[in-house]
Symmetry: C2
Subunit: 403 residues, 2 copies
C-alpha cells in the first residue's frame, strides 16, 4: 500500500539529490589538472588522486544531465565543471593509435591501465552526447558519434583492438556478458535523445542489443545468466551459472524504456517479468534485507568473494526499475517493491549528514567501506537514480492513475 507514500518519496529523494550533488560539487573538482577526484572519503577527503575513466566520464554525463534537466543545477558553475571534465577526457582518455579509451589515468592524465572491455568507451560516448545537448557544440556530437561507430565496429566486426591485439587462447570460452548489450542499449538511447534523426543509423544495433540481452534468459525463462555462449546457450561451470540480480534488474529498466518508446508491449512484459520480478525474488535476502551481489543458479557458493555484499548501485537501479514498472502498469506490487528497496536504502546506504551514499555494505547492512567515492564508485548511480525517481514521482503525483 505504498501509494500513499508518493509525496514522502518525492520529498526525501529531492532533498537527497541536492545533498548528493552538493557533495561532488564541493569535494571532487581538480582545479589544477582538470577532471575529478573520484576517491573521496566519507567527508570528502581525497585519499587517492588516481582518475578512473568510467567515473570521470560518468560525472561529466551526470553534470550535463543535471544542467539539462534539473532546474536547481542549471547553473554556469555546473556547466563549467562538466566542460572542464570533458576537456580532460578529450585530451587524455583516448589512445591515439586505436581510439580506445584507457581505464585509469594518473592525476595529470598519464595512462596507467587499459582494459579488454568496451565500457570506458561507452561512458565516454555518453558524456560527449550529453555535453552536446548541454552546449549545442558540434565538437561533442562528433566525438560521440565517432566513438559509437568504433563501438559498433569492435562489437560486431572486429574485436582485435578490444583484445589489445592478443588472439584468444585455445581453451577460452567464447562467452558473452549481459553488460555489453545492456551498455549499447543505454548508449544508443542517449544518442537518440540528442538527435532522433540518428534512429535509422542505430536501429540495427538497438535490435541486436535487445536480442542479445534476451539470450541471457535461460532455463525456461526462470533465470537471467550473466554469461552465455555466442550461440545463446548456457555455459558450463561457475562462469555459466553466475547471476547478478542487480545487473539483470538494471537491464530490465533499459529494456522497458526501449519497449515503451517503441511500443513493444511483449518486450515490456518480458523486461518486467524476467529481468525485474524474477531476479528480485531470487536476489532479495529475506534474512537481512537488500539484494545479494552474485548468486549461482544451482545454489553453489558463488566464487566471487564479495557475493553477499549489498551494493549501492544494485539498489539504486532496482529503485528506478520498479518505479518505472509501476509507472507503466500501475500495479501496486511494483510500488511496494520500490518502497521495500527505498526503505532499505534510506536506513542503510544514505548519509544524511554529509551527502552521497555509503556504497559497500556487509551482508547484514552495516557499512563495510566508509568512502563515498572509490575506484568503481563515483558521481553516477546515486544521482542518476535520484533524478530519474524524482522525475517519475513528479509525473505520478500529477497523474495518480493510468486513465
Amino acid at each position: 500500500m505504498a501509494e500513499k507514500r508518493l509525496q514522502e518519496f518525492y520529498d526525501e529523494i529531492s532533498e537527497d539529490l541536492t545533498r548528493c550533488v552538493q557533495f561532488w560539487l564541493t569535494h571532487s573538482h581538480d582545479n589544477k589538472y582538470g577532471g575529478f577526484f573520484n576517491c573521496l572519503d566519507e567527508n570528502g577527503t581525497v585519499y587517492d588522486d588516481t582518475k578512473h575513466i568510467w567515473l570521470q566520464a560518468r560525472q561529466v554525463w551526470m553534470y550535463a544531465k543535471l544542467y539539462n534537466e534539473e532546474e536547481k543545477f542549471t547553473t554556469q558553475a555546473v556547466l563549467q565543471a562538466a566542460e572542464k571534465g570533458a576537456e580532460f577526457l578529450m585530451k587524455f582518455a583516448k589512445d591515439a593509435s586505436t581510439g580506445r579509451c584507457y581505464l585509469i589515468l594518473t592525476r595529470d592524465g598519464r595512462p596507467i591501465k587499459m582494459q579488454r572491455t568496451i565500457f570506458s568507451e561507452c561512458f565516454y560516448t555518453m558524456a560527449m552526447s550529453e555535453m552536446a545537448k548541454a552546449t549545442k557544440q558540434a565538437l561533442y556530437k562528433t566525438e560521440a558519434v565517432q566513438m559509437m561507430d568504433r563501438l559498433i565496429h569492435w562489437v560486431r566486426e572486429d574485436d582485435t583492438d578490444i583484445r589489445l591485439g592478443r588472439p584468444p587462447l585455445a581453451g577460452e570460452a567464447r562467452s558473452e556478458s549481459l553488460a555489453v548489450p545492456m551498455m549499447l542499449q543505454c548508449v544508443t538511447h542517449e544518442l537518440l535523445t540528442l538527435d532522433p534523426s540518428l534512429g535509422a543509423r542505430y536501429r540495427d544495433i538497438q535490435e541486436w542489443s535487445v536480442q542479445k540481452a534476451l539470450s541471457h534468459v535461460q532455463r525456461d525463462g526462470t533465470v537471467v545468466l550473466e554469461n552465455v555462449s555466442t550461440s545463446g546457450t548456457e555455459l558450463p561451470g561457475s562462469l555459466g551459472r553466475l547471476m547478478i540480480p542487480g545487473h539483470a534488474i538494471e537491464a530490465g529498466w533499459f529494456l522497458l524504456r526501449y519497449a515503451k518508446q517503441n511500443g513493444q508491449d511483449e518486450l515490456a512484459q518480458k523486461a518486467i517479468d524476467q529481468f525485474m520480478n524474477g531476479p528480485f525474488a531470487r536476489g532479495w535476502d529475506d534474512e537481512c534485507g537488500g539484494l545479494y551481489y552474485f548468486l549461482d543458479a544451482d545454489r553453489y557458493s558463488p566464487v566471487q568473494l564479495e557475493w553477499n555484499m549489498k551494493m549501492w548501485w544494485v539498489h539504486t537501479e532496482t529503485m528506478v526499475a520498479f518505479l518505472m514498472a509501476y509507472q507503466h502498469t500501475r500495479d501496486g506490487d511494483h510500488l511496494d517493491t520500490f518502497a521495500r528497496v527505498y526503505d532499505y536504502c534510506y536506513s542503510k546506504h544514505v548519509d544524511k549528514k554529509r551527502g552521497e551514499w555509503f556504497g559497500y555494505l556487509n551482508r547484514d547492512g552495516s557499512v563495510s567501506m566508509r568512502f563515498k567515492g572509490g575506484p568503481w564508485k563515483g558521481c553516477f548511480h546515486v544521482p542518476r537514480s535520484l533524478l530519474y525517481c524524482k522525475q517519475m514521482l513528479s509525473e505520478l503525483l500529477k497523474r495518480p492513475t493510468l486513465t
Copy 2:
C-alpha cells in the same frame, strides 16, 4: 600459558592433517584427463572442472612432500597421484614459445588465461623440485632448475615475457610487490633442500630476495607495505598504503627459516618483530577475532571489497609463523599467539565432519563461501601448515626447553 597444551595441539593437528589429505585423495583426482579437480564443494562435489595452475602445481608439491615426510602418506597411491599431476603440468601448463606457465586451463588442458605475474612458474618449480626428491628422477630436477633460471632472468634481467610483450604505459607506477621476493625465497629454499650444492648458484637471488623483502618495511619499521617503489620507498595513494597482514606474516616465517639456516640472528629478529609481531598486532580484529585481509596504513577504508573477510591461508600461515618463532625463542608470548589463532581456526575454519577447512569467512567468523576448493584455494595451505606445525610440535614435545 599455552605451554601445557602442546600435546593437545599435536593430537588435534595430526588428526586434522589426515582428514584434510583424505578429502583431496577422495574427491579431487581426474582419472580421465589427469591433474586435479580443484573446485570442490563442502562435501567434495565438483562444481567446476576448470584447472587452476597454481593449485595443480601446489597439490603435486603437497602430495610429494607428504610422500617424502609423513609416514602415513608414504604410499604408492599418493606418489602415483603426484606423478599423474606432474605429468599433466609438464604436458599442458607451459607455453612452448616462452616457457611461461598459464594461469588457467580447461579440464583437458587447453589454455584459458595467462597472467602477468611469475607465480604459476614459481609453483611449477616447487612441484618439480619436490617430485625430484620423491622419485630421484633427473627429469623433474631438470624441469625445476630450468624454470628457476627463467624466473631469475624474468625478475632480474628482462620482464618482457611476464608483461606478455606489452611495454609499461606512461603513468604506470613502477611498483614492487612483497609477493615476488617472498616467492623466490620460498622456491630457492625448495631447490636447496633438493640439492644443497645449488647453494652457490642461488646465493645472489636469495640475498636479493631478503633485501627486497626488507624494503617493504616502512615508516621507521612500524609497517610492512605490500607495494613499494623500485627504489624501496613508499608509493602514493591506496596502492602504496596497502597492508596485507597475512602476507607479511607468511614472509616472516620464510625469512626466519632462512635466517636460522644461515645463522643471521639480526634478520631472525627482524622477521619476528617487523614481519610477525607488528602485522599481527595491527591485523587482529579485537572485536570478532581473526586477522583482517587488507588494511590501509593511514586507516582509510581499503579499496578491496573483501578487506574484512577472514581467510584460511592468513590463519594457517600465522600458525606456522608463531610456532616457528616460539621454537626459535621459546618466548611464551609467541606460543600464546599461536594458541589464539589455533583456537580461532578450530572454532571457525575447521570442518571436522568432512575434512578440509572452510576458507572464506565473513568478518564475524561465519562461513561466507561453503566450498573447500575454488579458483584460489586448493590442496596446499591447510595441509602444508598442519604438516609443518605437526613437525614443529613433535620437536617441541621432545625438547621442551631450548637448553
